[in-house]
Symmetry: C2
Subunit: 390 residues, 2 copies
C-alpha cells in the first residue's frame, strides 16, 4: 500500500495557501473526503482545517491510528465530536468550504460551531490545483492504466456470443480487482454515479439515459439505468467497452471496440473517424488552443468526415464535451467542452473520447487517458487501438 | 425489467401528503435521486415536485422518454434547465427539500428560482414513509436475497487457500452481477460509501476503519480503506463474508462465516453467541420492545455469554447499533441502536448483525435481513446458517 510522501502533501498545501490568499481567506475547512484525501493523504473519517498563515490540522473521528500512518500532516488531532474543533482553531472571518457538495444542513452545523463567519466556496481552488498533476499522481494513473491494459487484453479470452453485457462486465471487474482495481469511480455530484462496467452492444449503444454520456446504455433496472444490461451479446454487432479503473483513488478511463464475427462497416468507418478526430485534436492541444476552440474544431472535423449528425450523440441528445480531466474524480479540470475556455497543455491529464452514436443501431468510439506537458502528449492507456475481431 | 405500478407510487404520494400536511408544507421538491425514485419510479435526471393539494409534477432533464416509460406519474414535463419549473408551480411559502443531502449551493439555486420561500428539511418525512415496506418492496428485497443465497452457496466452489480477499470478492461480485445484482449499495451520506465486497479473514477482521462498522477491514489503499484487501486467505482462520446485493435498487444484507481446514474455537463460540443474540433479540422485537431497549438487552446478553468486551467491536471502537433498516438505502429506519427509541415490529425490514471482534485476532458474526410484521418475523436471507468448513 502506497502512502503520499510528505513533500507531495505539503507542496499541495503550499499551492493551496497561495490561492487562498488571492481569495482573502483566513482558512478553509475540507469536509468532503475527496478533497481532504488530496490534501492530507488519508480518507479516514476526518475534517481538515487549513489556516492561511499556519500549519494545517487534521481532525480525525475514526480511525486516528490509521490516519496517522497514512497522512504526513504534522498536526493530527483525535476528536469524538465535530464541536471539539473550536478549541484548536484561531478566530476566522472568511473561510472556505466545499459549498458545491457539502449538504446545506452540514454548512449550518459548521456555522453553529465556528460562529458568524463568511463561508466561501473554495472548491474552485482545489479543482484548479488538481488541474495540474504531479509526477506522484501520474505514476498512480499509469498504474491504473497498466491494470486497464491487462483487462482489455483479457477480453478476447472471455468474450463469447450469448453472454450478457453485465456478465462480461462482472468478469472484467473481477479480473481487474484481483490486480488492485478499487471498484468505484468517484464523481463530484449528488445524483450522478459512474460504473466501471459500461459495456454496450449493438442497439443498447444507441440508448440515452440520465448520464451525461452520448451512449448511456440500458442498465439493469429503473434504479440502475446506465451501463451494461441483461442484453445478450450477438455476432456481427459493435461491442463498445468503456471500462474505468481506479488505483489508490486515481482513475484511468479508456474505450475500445470489439466484435464477434465481424464489425458492420458503418461502425468501422465511424471508429476510424473517431481515431482521426482524437489524434488531430491532440495535435491542436499541443498548439495551445483553448477548450472551446478544440471542441469547435472537433465538431468541424466530424462534419467534414461525414459524421456530424452522430458525433457525441444524435440530436437532441448530443453531449457538449469531448474530453474530461481525470484523477481522483472522474470529471476534473480540464475539459474539452463548449463551455470551457482555457489552454489544456500544462501537466494536464484528461480522457478524450470521440464517439459516434447511430439512432437505433449502436455506438462506436475510442477513449484514451492522456498526459500533456512540455509540448508533448503521452497516451497513458496504451492498449492496442485496432478493433478486436473474435 | 420491472416498473413500479401506479397504485404503488400514488399510495406513497398519498401517505407523503398526509405527513406534509402535518408539517404545514405547501409542497416539497425531491432533488435527491433516491427520494424521487421512491416517489416516482424513475432515476432519470429529474426533479419531483409534490404540491400538498394537487398532482405531483416530474420535471425531467434527461431522458424524458425513459422517464415516461418507467414512471406512472401523470404529469411529466421535459425541461432543459431547472429554471423552467417556475412556470409549472403555484406560489408556495413553506416547501420541503432534502437539506440533509442537497448541497448548500443547490439550495441557494432553488431559492433564486422559487423566490423567498421557507425551506424545510423533509427527509425525515420520506425516511418515516420508508420505514414501512409494501408487498411490492418486499418482493424486490426477496429477489435480492435469492441472488444473495446463490452467491453464498457458490463460495465453496471458488474459495481457495492463497487467494486474496479482493480476488474472492471480485469473483462473487461477477457471479452476482450475472444474476442481476447492480453492484452498488447506496448510502445517504456525503462521505460514506458501502462496498459489497466486504470480506475479512483472520487478522484483517480486527482492523477498524473510517466506516461505522465493527470490522472495517484493511481495504486496498488509503483511498479505499474498507473491506477486502490484498491479504491472502489462509487455512484455519475465520473468514467473514458480509456481501450486500442490490436488485432494482433494493438491497439485502447478509453475513456468513467460512473457514478452510478448521475454525478456531474462539470464533466458533463467538459465532454461536452471535446467533443466540440474533434470535433472542428477534423474539423481543415481536414483543414490541423499542430500539433502545432491544440494544440494551442485546448488550446484556453478550455480557452474560462472556463476550461483552468483543460485542460490536472492542473499546474504544465499538459501534452503537445492532441493526439497520434496509431498502433503497443501506441505512434506513428502523435501527436497533442506543440512540433510537421506537418499536420496530410494523412492516419493517432490517439487517440485524451481531458481531464479535477480537483485537489483533479477527472477527465473527451473523447477519440476516428480516421482515417483521403481524407478530411474526421472516428471515429473507434464508441461507444455511452453519459455519462452512472447506
Amino acid at each position: 500500500m502506497l502512502f503520499a510522501p510528505k513533500e507531495e502533501i505539503y507542496s499541495r498545501i503550499t499551492r493551496l495557501k497561495s490561492l487562498m490568499e488571492d481569495a482573502s481567506l483566513d482558512g478553509a475547512f475540507f469536509h468532503y473526503k475527496i478533497d481532504y484525501y488530496y490534501l492530507s493523504g488519508t480518507m479516514q473519517d476526518s475534517l481538515l482545517f487549513v489556516p492561511v498563515d499556519d500549519e494545517p490540522v487534521l481532525f480525525v473521528k475514526r480511525e486516528v491510528s490509521r490516519a496517522k500512518r497514512e497522512s504526513p500532516i504534522n498536526r493530527i488531532v483525535s476528536i469524538r465530536s465535530i464541536k471539539e474543533i473550536i478549541h484548536h482553531i484561531k478566530p476566522i472571518k472568511k473561510v472556505g468550504l466545499q459549498l458545491d457538495v457539502v449538504p446545506y444542513n452540514d454548512v449550518m452545523r459548521f456555522r453553529e460551531i465556528v460562529g458568524n463567519v463568511e463561508f466561501f466556496n473554495c472548491s474552485p481552488l482545489t479543482r484548479e490545483l488538481r488541474k495540474v498533476k504531479s509526477p506522484f499522481e501520474i505514476a498512480l494513473i499509469e498504474r491504473a492504466a497498466a491494470i486497464q491494459k491487462m483487462v482489455y487484453e483479457y477480453v478476447p479470452q472471455v468474450l463469447e456470443e450469448g453472454m450478457t453485457e453485465i456478465e462480461l462486465g462482472g468478469i472484467l471487474e473481477a479480473y481487474a480487482k484481483a490486480l488492485g482495481h478499487e471498484g468505484l469511480l468517484r464523481v463530484r455530484s449528488l445524483n450522478y454515479e459512474a460504473y466501471t462496467w459500461h459495456i454496450v452492444s449493438g442497439r443498447t449503444g444507441s440508448i440515452v439515459s440520465q448520464s451525461d454520456s452520448p451512449m448511456g446504455g440500458l442498465g439493469l433496472s429503473p434504479a440502475f439505468p446506465v451501463g451494461a444490461s441483461m442484453k445478450k451479446i450477438k455476432r456481427n454487432e459493435p461491442i463498445l467497452i468503456d471500462f474505468g479503473i481506479c488505483y489508490h483513488g486515481y482513475q484511468a478511463d479508456q474505450t475500445r471496440m470489439f466484435a464477434i464475427g465481424s464489425m458492420p462497416k458503418l461502425f468501422v468507418d465511424g471508429y476510424e473517424a473517431c481515431r482521426e478526430i482524437h489524434y488531430k485534436v491532440l495535435d491542436k492541444v499541443l498548439e495551445g488552443l483553448t477548450s472551446r476552440e478544440l471542441f469547435e474544431y472537433s465538431k468541424k472535423l466530424a462534419d467534414r468526415l461525414g459524421f456530424g449528425d452522430y458525433y457525441l450523440g444524435y440530436r437532441p441528445h448530443k453531449v457538449r464535451f469531448l474530453a474530461h480531466g481525470i484523477g481522483i474524480e472522474l470529471s476534473e479540470l480540464p475539459f474539452i467542452a463548449a463551455t470551457h475556455d482555457y489552454p489544456i497543455n500544462n501537466h494536464a491529464v484528461f480522457a478524450i473520447e470521440p464517439k459516434m452514436v447511430f439512432p437505433r443501431k449502436g455506438a462506436c468510439g475510442i477513449e484514451n487517458t492522456v498526459y500533456v506537458d512540455n509540448g508533448r502528449y503521452r497516451i497513458l492507456t496504451d492498449t492496442d487501438e485496432r478493433i478486436t475481431i473474435l
